[in-house]
Amino acid sequence: MTKRVEKVVIVGRDAPGWITAAAIQHALGRTGVSLRVIELPSLLQGPDVYSAVPPLKGLHDQLRLDERLVLRACNGVPMVGQRFSNWSGPSAPFIHGYDDQPPAESDLDFTQYWIKGRQQGLRSAFENFSLGAMAAKAGRVPTGAADPQQPLTAGYGYHLDARRYSVLMKEVAVRRGVATKTASIAGVELEGERIRSLSLSDGEQVDADLFIDASGTEATLIGHLPGAEFKSWREWLPCDRMIVASGNRLQPPPAFSQISAFRDGWIGIFPLQDRAAVVGVFDSRLRSDREMVESLPVIARLPIAGDAVVSELRQGIRDSTWVGNCVAVGEAAFSLEPLDGVQLHIAHSCISHLMAFFPVETSAFPEAAVYDRGVRSIAENMRDFQAAHYMLNRRFDDPFWDRCRDVPCPMTLQSRIDLFAARGDVSLYQSEAFAAQDWASLFLGHGLMPETCDPRVDLIPEEDHIAKVHQRLQDILALVGAMPPVDEFLANAVYQNRPEVAQGG
């Protein structure tokens, strides 16, 4: 006798928990799936910030959530790129922007044109050929992504106040009809590899066909299940402490996150409308929490307002991200550094996989293995992207950074680096968070210069090559010039045309 999965309970907190609830309710609320959220106490600190890659905008669109509302409610600022400085010794900083993959009119990526140009004396840096990077640098927002007439398009994500965004997403979920209760979990009763029921702090027993653990790194549910041990990625991502604080607002707010390496880790400055969030990660073996708090204003080169808060940082993945009737989403499944805008993308990518492979009946969950494989692939992809910053650093004679270069890479990253170094080509695997041009901008930004290029680029006559490179610069100049500056963009979003509050159903 089979029984459909109808009763779903999310144990979660903060934005990842509420995004999960909103997305499931949106997709399945009308199909007889009932959803309830047990809300755990927030783990967010006042200064916390989410920096989010462009796909978050797509998720909001799916949930029919108005961008202006998001920006207004969360003191949000568009995140058009991430700027990396001091990672590679004396090399210039670089910006990773979010250019859209061009239509496949030719098989030859622009990266190849640039590499050959560089070999023949082209001076202009790779980022000058990225629409996203140049928009970020100019403090402008690439709003024209939907326009098919544009020769190039780029996307943007957001910097959002983490607490405010969590409150907003809770509102969205609740308005859509998700039942919620605030409680903590007093006990998890198992039956073999499954959760039979949860005991809440007020004595209520909760059962469900499917439990979703969106509790963050605490892994309140899945942590109890066999086969879901946490496996650390510290060998590649060596920082184990994180500091958050607030500085004065930057006026006008830059369109990028500023990520600067320092002796024992990195410091990020994430602009919001009312303040600048400062986030740092560092290695506790080299610097104590107190030292970090004291040196923060100097390293960040920004006066700090209010208290800084230090907490543990754990990067890694569960051995299994779905055990029995319990699936982990967000940081309960895997966790990374607050770098490259991945924070919310962790939950987002888990949710996408969960929606694609949503379990249909309670007697067996063969979806678990395919979910786990997909989530693992994307998790390792994001991990590799972050690890590449460390591996490719060129801060010589800083022991922390020297060690980062010496550690053997994950195999997947090593073969990607090898191929890029040999030919400027990016191999893509199953489920990827980042596209080929993201990797190219990362590798070239950190100074990994390919030794040869795709032979087909030599088929292009020199004058056509020069014209193509020139045209691209001109296109970018014209497109960036037509984009609204961040200030103007925000003025439109925040102060005019006040949107309706989140729609229901």
Binding site: A421, R456, D458
Partner: protein, 511 residues
């Protein structure tokens, strides 16, 4: 500028001339000097008379005019493959080049269809594929470029005479500067230092040196297998067929825009309509039937008079463990063999070439390029392998030894998982590189009788009567579209009619 590389292509069958044509057209002049060695005494196998839609990219890439190529190769159009008697005797389905219906309301078509099926819909999923409905009506037209129209939901490939295609590419390659050398290889010289191949010594005594060798020597795998000793990975426990009889017959009345594959007592039989004749063959396992018996069975099933004596071909399913080793890459049969059940032979040659071009080496033979090439080829082979095994394994035929064996054999874990997921709830995992797309898996799963037990809950969002109406409208729409398409025969005659055949079809082996 990189010093030009001396590239020697050994073998002038389909693989050799495809490589020559593509390399001479895609690589900059001065990058390499191409030389192809073949012997008219060694027959070519003439791989595949049926192709996949990817072929069009290949041809476009080297600047081939479609109608001209089709005239020169007696080509016809192909919208898919019809499988007869595979899942069970009397069954019939088409694996189309195209999708079955659109996604809507956040749910893919198969789940919407499964839901409708449970609520009384009587239509087979095939009725929602324009490619299938057109194929069954023997009609053809080019797909629409605009991505939103019904007429953009299918694609097409060709049936052609592979040896005429090789001839066509030879003329093209030679006109673009490829040197052809007639002769047979006597020995192969290797560097004692690097292990690389240095030269081929010909029976004439000529010593042909090269920096990079492309082994298109067919089953013999003279360079990759014999010289470099790359071992053979045998897949015959999953794909037990090891022989094929091939025979051309006169052009049949039934001028289908699709290949037909009919399951037989010890394998399967192909039928491929060309302009001047029909290609037929029986792929069988010598463990389950005698050669003579198989030949008789084939001849007994022809739907037009045989135009030559049947010819026998022997093979094994499997591949070389790596396809690029040292300074030698193998293409086509020298790299591996998978039976032509899904017309993948030419596809595999094409993909190997398309993967090779961007990674084309310089004299240093950078191993990092080779790793990436081999990784990509591994994926291509394994994905096709699983898909082929599926045809043999899935179904309920128990009327012959081979089908009982295949149903109960242990299949690769990757395939077991796919079958289990589809059975459970219609899950078809998408993957990035390689064949086949979800619509292909869907057509074989369903066509061979595996109906999922559940469907994705998002398919329940749409109101039931709306869903049924939408599906019925779509079915009508497809029929109306097909009504307006010209007949395949007329289309071919107008677009690419081949000059009349003056000589008898060559009684060559084709696969």
């Amino acid at each position: 500028m990189t010093e030009p590389l001396d590239v020697v292509i050994l073998g002038g069958g389909t693989a050799g001339w495809m490589a020559a044509a593509a390399l001479v057209s895609s690589l900059p002049p001065g990058r390499c000097r191409l030389r192809l060695i073949e012997s008219e005494e060694i027959g070519t196998v003439g791989v595949g008379e049926a192709t996949l839609p990817q072929m069009k990219n290949f041809n476009r890439g080297i600047g081939i005019d479609e109608a001209e190529m089709m005239r020169a190769t007696n080509a016809t159009f192909k919208l898919g493959i019809q499988f007869v008697d595979w899942g069970f005797k009397g069954s019939r389905y088409i694996h189309p080049f195209g999708i079955h219906g659109p996604a809507a309301e956040g749910s893919s078509f198969r789940h919407r269809w499964l839901r409708a099926l449970r609520h009384g819909l009587k239509s087979d999923i095939q009725e929602f594929s324009l490619a299938i409905v057109a194929a069954e009506a023997n009609r053809f037209d080019f797909p629409d470029d605009r991505k939103t129209t019904l007429k953009s939901t299918f694609d097409y490939a060709y049936h052609f005479d592979a040896s005429l295609y090789a001839d066509y590419l030879r003329r093209l390659s030679e006109s673009r500067g490829v040197t052809r050398t007639e002769g047979k290889v006597k020995t192969v010289e290797r560097s004692s230092e690097t292990g690389n191949i240095d030269a081929l010594v010909m029976e004439s005594g000529e010593r042909i040196c090269g920096d990079f060798f492309i082994d298109c020597s067919g089953f013999r795998s003279l360079l990759l297998g014999n010289t470099l000793g790359i071992e053979w990975e045998d897949w015959s426990k999953w794909l037990p067929c090891d022989r094929a009889w091939a025979v051309p017959s006169e052009r049949a009345k039934d001028f289908t825009p699709y290949t037909r594959s009919t399951a037989m007592e010890a394998g399967w039989r192909w039928r491929i309509p060309l302009q001047h004749r029909t290609g037929n063959g029986y792929v069988f396992s010598s463990s389950f039937i005698g050669e003579q018996e198989a030949a008789d069975a084939l001849l007994g099933e022809l739907d037009s008079a045989a135009a030559a004596e049947p010819r026998l071909l022997k093979f094994r399913a499997g591949r070389r463990a790596v396809n690029w080793e040292a300074n030698c890459v193998a293409l086509g049969l020298a790299s591996g063999f998978l039976e032509p059940l899904e017309s993948t032979s030419i596809y595999l040659i094409q993909m190997a070439i398309m993967h090779l071009v961007p990674l084309f080496p310089a004299k240093s033979m950078d191993p990092r390029l080779r790793y990436e090439f081999n990784r990509k080829i591994d994926l291509e082979y394994e994905r096709i392998r699983d898909f082929l095994i599926l045809h043999y394994h899935l179904g309920s035929r128990d009327d012959a030894e081979i089908w009982r064996y295949c149903r109960s054999m242990t299949i690769p874990e990757s395939l077991q998982r796919k079958i289990m997921l589809f059975r459970h709830s219609g899950i078809v995992e998408e993957y990035k590189d390689g064949l086949f797309n979800p619509p292909s898996w869907l057509s074989v799963f369903l066509g061979q009788g595996l109906v999922p037990e559940n469907y994705h809950p998002a398919a329940d969002v749409q109101a039931q009567d709306q869903l049924i109406t939408a599906l019925e409208d779509l079915r009508t729409d497809i029929r109306d579209h097909v009504e307006e398409m010209p007949g395949h025969e007329r289309f071919v005659a107008r677009y690419c009619e081949a000059p009349p055949v003056t000589e008898l079809p060559k009684a060559e082996m084709r696969l």
